[in-house]
């Protein structure tokens, strides 16, 4: 092939790849967004169908508010109560787990980033395990562990403990610590150490340096870490599934139950509300990060 032929071919190639580079993102965005948009749109559909549009209604949302999911069926009617209970349970679990894992995880981040002690590198690596090990393994391992521990307690004092809030919260803290540590450490890495040194040189002791200098600078990272922990905790299904007890159904467990048994038409509305809630959460975390970047 002569030179101009090759050039023409290469230019054609460039045009093709340019087009492909526009088509691919277009398809991927459609793939990512169509299911969600359809879900939200059909949550306002008059009728239970998820493929045929019968007109606009807010009846499904009203049903949730009026405590009467799917009128006519007695078993369904008390589901709004169960839904609200599940939301409450989720908030309790996520709230407590987030508070504790933020404190423990921030302490850990400080020690791993600044400390020079024996076994630091090993410890550092070990704390990445909860991030990589499949949640199903973590879930069943903890369930087996709690079962054995409860057996031991029963033999010792004759009381049978049962899984519930405590087991779910313990499990959530176990994976959240690592995520908080990672986020807080990223913030620590960008921090100028001379600020702390200046504080020390000017006569501040350890506590004063920490609370007056380190902590205020670290705060956006701590808040971002706690928001991530809160989201992960609210979202977790698998680990909770294996460690929940009677009466401690969280929101994901409730949704799973609905999907597995009988799908009420209100589920689109419930899902839409959950999507809206997560958008609010992301908005908050972005706002915090922007604040952090400015300070």
């Amino acid at each position: 092939m002569n030179r101009s032929g090759r050039l023409r071919r290469d230019l054609a190639l460039r045009r093709v790849s340019k087009v492909a580079l526009w088509v691919n993102p277009f398809i991927v965005y459609l793939f990512l967004w169509i299911p969600i948009v359809v879900l939200v749109v059909f949550s306002f559909n008059d009728g239970a169908s998820v493929s045929v549009w019968n007109g606009f209604t807010t009846v499904w949302y009203e049903n949730i508010i009026n405590n009467s999911i799917t009128a006519g069926s007695e078993s369904a009617r008390f589901q709004t109560g169960l839904l609200l209970l599940a939301v409450r349970n989720s908030l309790i679990v996520a709230g407590v787990a987030t508070l504790l894992s933020t404190i423990i995880g921030t302490m850990l981040a400080l020690a791993l980033a600044r400390g020079r002690f024996f076994g630091r590198k090993t410890l550092d690596a070990l704390f990445y395990l909860p991030v990589v090990i499949p949640d199903i393994t973590q879930g069943v391992a903890l369930a087996v562990f709690f079962n054995l521990a409860f057996d031991a307690v029963q033999r010792l004092i004759g009381v049978r403990l049962v899984p519930g809030f405590a087991t779910i919260i313990i499990a959530h803290i176990a994976f959240n610590i690592s995520y908080v540590m990672i986020v807080v450490r990223a913030r620590l890495a960008t921090m100028d150490p001379s600020l702390e040194e200046a504080g020390r040189d000017l006569g501040a002791n350890y506590q004063q340096t920490f609370w007056r200098i380190t902590f205020p600078i670290l705060l956006p990272g701590v808040l971002a870490g706690s928001l991530l922990a809160f989201t992960l905790s609210l979202d977790d299904f698998v680990i909770t599934f294996f460690n929940a007890g009677v009466g401690t159904t969280t929101l994901p467990l409730f949704v799973y139950g609905m999907l597995k048994q009988r799908v009420p038409p209100e589920i689109n509305a419930i899902s839409t509300l959950m999507i809206a809630a997560s958008i609010v959460l992301i908005g908050l975390s972005l706002l915090l990060q922007r604040r952090g970047a400015n300070s």
Partner: protein
Amino acid sequence: MARVGTTPGDKRRAFGLVGPATFWLIAFFLLPLVFVAVASFMSRGSGGAPVMPVTLDQYSRTFTVFGPVIWRSLQVAAITTAISLLLGYPLAFFISRRRDPRVRLLLLFLVLLPFWTNFLVRTYALITIMQRDGLLNSLLERLGFIVEPLQMLFTSGAVIIGLVYGYLPFMVLPIYASVERLDMRYVEAANDLGANDVRAFWKVILPLTLPGVIAGCILVFIPAIGAFVTPDLMGGTRGLMIGNLIQSQFGGRGNIPLGSAISMVLLVVVFIGVLIYTRWGQEEQS
């Protein structure tokens, strides 16, 4: 505390700081995993509980009875990873080549936002599209491509689509980070020296962004191989994966030693992935 660990007081402080986290990690993460490892070498007692004697039976059963499911899980995870790469790489490249940083941020945000909504809700959204009387079937029918609704759910294919949908951002983000760091002058140099775009891609762009590609592949493969929700809701009996096997052994009529052995096999696969990630999936810090 410019230098924690320089004085005895600082050393104690560092131990106080790692103490609670280390306790939690050992008591509620490592110890349970050790129990699972031990249980995997034991026999099944009443109610599925692990009892003596020590045996390798659970492992031989894992590979004989459940070998096909494990093999298929590996295939499903591998195909999921490959599709995510084919969809994710051009997308990450496209995003990182936008000039306006606000556009880049918006495009990344549009990838991440679905990712932040509850996994079950996202899976359900996909199910409504793909089910028998779902939008996709009614669309295909109206366009005349099919006369009868297709059975799309409860197949391995459905599981793969669900997993790609769930984990695609894990592919896009590390590749985006790699491509953004790529110095485009190398590509221009390759073009100037006579390489066309295909050649420049294979010889320059891909090798330089390979750490991001490997990181993305491992970050998709690991959750995909350990998936439970997606095969459970979208796979039916034909789309069963390792996660479903494990779950069924820890239920009412289960076999905890057997479930533990299957979990250990899953862990070994994951650790191989982690090793690849730490060896080849991270860029040199410069």
